[in-house]
Symmetry: C2
Subunit: 410 residues, 2 copies
């Protein structure tokens, strides 16, 4: 008989955001007249930049004419987009990559979830805690996370707590690990690492032959100078890191799906015999076998982000969201709450008052202020006692949500 991959059965019942959606739906069914403001899921609300809209209309028209129609594109993405990325996202920061080191994808989640296919199932791994659930869940699915232990942790995963006490800067693992996921600016805490802080991780990886998967999906929200936008700004990082980027939060692409993954040619992993294998060639093979490229129309939209108008429009949207973040920080602090993040990231990490648990605070806020957040503990044990709020709403919703929270807590 066909045997199931039993690692799947170890997965906790359902995905964090589905749980939240269910709870919100129950509330709405029992309180049909209440207007709920959602600051939970990190989904954007501003429309796409006009430059992207224009580029898509043009690309759609190309698809209507046999002379300009495009069928299968390169699995790795079109050169026009890869060139724009190299020229705008990396060269100005002194990072020089070749086109073959960039792989256009249909959003960061796909590659974040699949990148582990390149590695043996039994590599040891570390994650910061709290963490974006996909890093753990995708490793549970292939057995790499090990078995679920009491307390909700996984046997082959080293958890690196990010707490108020350490200023949300994780310590290096005490035992060496093979694989580390880092996300900066961080989801969910909204905090960042300085150049010096990130350098420690690259040096650790170089010294320990560790692979870093660096998730830079929120890079566009960095406003402070000493925060690296790319891990490759750190010397030696090309030898140890894969970087994953997304246009979802940069330019509102959550509904059109595009991002990219950088796999430098210098980056290798080892066979059991110690032979070094370039991961670029393996990822290329993986993509050519299991992916057929991103929509041409979407790639044209992404290219438009890098035009002068596109850049201005993207900046305006990010400024809009960051204005929300500032309003929220100020308002929540005025209500006597402790809040982190929101300076170089669209997320605020709110400490629940009086040590209330995350889920309980989530429910209270839903039922009493009609505002939806994301319970911090949903991102890992160290998230207990926190709630994530996103700055992706409209100004009006954000202000109204803050009014409600202040009123509720008063």
């Amino acid at each position: 008989m066909a045997l199931v991959n039993e690692h799947f059965l170890k997965l906790p019942g359902s995905y964090l955001f589905s749980d939240i959606a269910k709870k919100v739906n129950s509330f709405k069914i029992t309180h049909p007249k209440q207007d709920v403001i959602r600051l939970g899921i990190g989904d954007v609300t501003r429309p796409l930049p006009p430059a992207c809209i224009e580029a898509m209309h043009k690309a759609v028209d190309e698809m209507a004419d046999a002379k300009t129609f495009r069928g299968y594109g390169p699995e790795q993405g079109y050169d026009f987009l890869i060139e724009a990325i190299l020229k705008n996202d990396f060269a100005p920061r002194g990072v020089h990559l070749s086109p073959a080191e960039i792989f256009i994808n249909d959003g960061a989640k796909s590659d974040t979830g699949s990148i582990g296919e390149l590695l043996r199932w039994d590599n040891s791994m570390a994650i910061t805690d709290p963490v974006y659930p996909v890093y753990v869940d995708s490793n549970i699915m292939c057995g790499r996370a090990g078995v679920l232990e009491e307390g909700g942790t996984w046997s082959n995963v080293t958890y690196l707590p990010c707490t108020e006490e350490n200023g949300f800067v994780p310590e290096l693992p005490k035992h060496r690990v093979d694989l580390i996921y880092l996300c900066y600016p961080n989801n969910p805490t909204g905090t960042t690492l300085t150049h010096e802080q990130l350098k420690k991780w690259v040096d650790y990886a170089l010294a320990n032959d560790t692979l870093i998967v660096f998730d830079a999906a929120y890079e566009a929200y960095i406003h402070e100078d000493n925060v690296p936008h790319s891990i490759y700004e750190i010397r030696g990082a090309k030898k140890v890191a894969i970087e994953i980027r997304s246009f979802s939060k940069t330019a509102g692409f959550t509904g059109v799906r595009c991002g990219y993954t950088v796999v430098p040619k210098e980056l290798t992993a080892a066979t059991l015999e110690g032979e070094r294998i370039p991961l670029n060639q393996l990822w290329n093979r993986r993509q050519c076998t299991k992916f057929n490229g991103t929509s041409y129309i979407t790639q044209r939209a992404a290219e438009a982000i890098y035009t002068p108008e596109g850049k201005q429009q993207v900046k305006a949207n990010i400024d809009y969201y960051m204005q929300n973040a500032a309003t929220m920080r100020k308002s929540l602090e005025a209500a006597g709450l402790k809040v982190y993040g929101g300076v170089n990231a669209p997320y605020l990490w709110l400490k629940t008052p009086n040590g209330i648990g995350s889920w309980r605070f989530f429910e209270q806020m839903l039922y009493e202020a009609n505002v939806v957040g994301t319970p911090g503990v949903g991102f890992g044990p160290s998230g207990e006692g926190f709630l994530r709020l996103t700055a992706f709403g409209t100004h009006e919703d954000c202000e109204e949500a803050m009014r409600r929270i202040r009123k509720w807590l008063a």
Copy 2:
């Protein structure tokens, strides 16, 4: 140190179509004035149906306005598209599926490549031979194919030859297997199974607790009555089969990326202890963790295929290609060649004259007639001595290619 997934290193050097592209490029560099006609890769050339173009322009405009903007969609796809699929692709054939059994994807290749994640790595598998390379390569990558043996076959794969002798109808495996990939209408041979022939496979799967992955990417090309469009037209198939569909060849979506996978709720696989696990729930979890849905704009384009205008336009494109197929068949037969397929499929399976090997015939045809095909042996050992030609070119190119081949062989 991070250890690489060594199964990747077992993969043959590169992907069939990259090899072909390299050979064609070498030819073009050494013969810059020759005009090459490509009937190799199965990529469409007709522009998208006007109904799809219109739907995409409308969807792009929705993305330009905050009131109609769509961010993250359901990972499983939008209901509007799922409903159109159920109503048009299945209900008229007496197949009743629920919306939760359909998963919209970004093209059949992604899901074909990833579906094996749901199964233990050591399930035994069977493929027809010749076969679409992704079925084998994706299983090599996770170790399921076993080790490469002399003669180019894999130790854990049962090959089911499709030859002139058996009329390209594979025999049932002699030993039971856990997993079978079937593709009908077939890529590369262009042949089909009748209702009775496919029923044997479903009955085998029911009797042997075998999972069938049924690739129906070319379903829209079926013209004869006794050829099932969906495996679910066979009684009992919902218990044993996953069906994968694509809009790529149906409506020219190779560049915009959309298809869908059907995982019936009745379909289960077993744990080692014999517990039956519904694969629908596992695939849902896989998609929610490693995929973020298909572009909203693309899904609106796919929905438009099912409008009255869309259906007419799709039919016109398919008729166009099938007219090519008829021209090609007639022409090649007139040149004294044996040719199969091309009646319910956009592929022709050409027997090389005088027992010439596939690659040799490929190169001769490239250098002497300047026409590109795909060497049959690239699809598996039983493809030796054959060449695949696609009917996806323009009428003019097809006719010119046939003139050249006839002249060359005369």
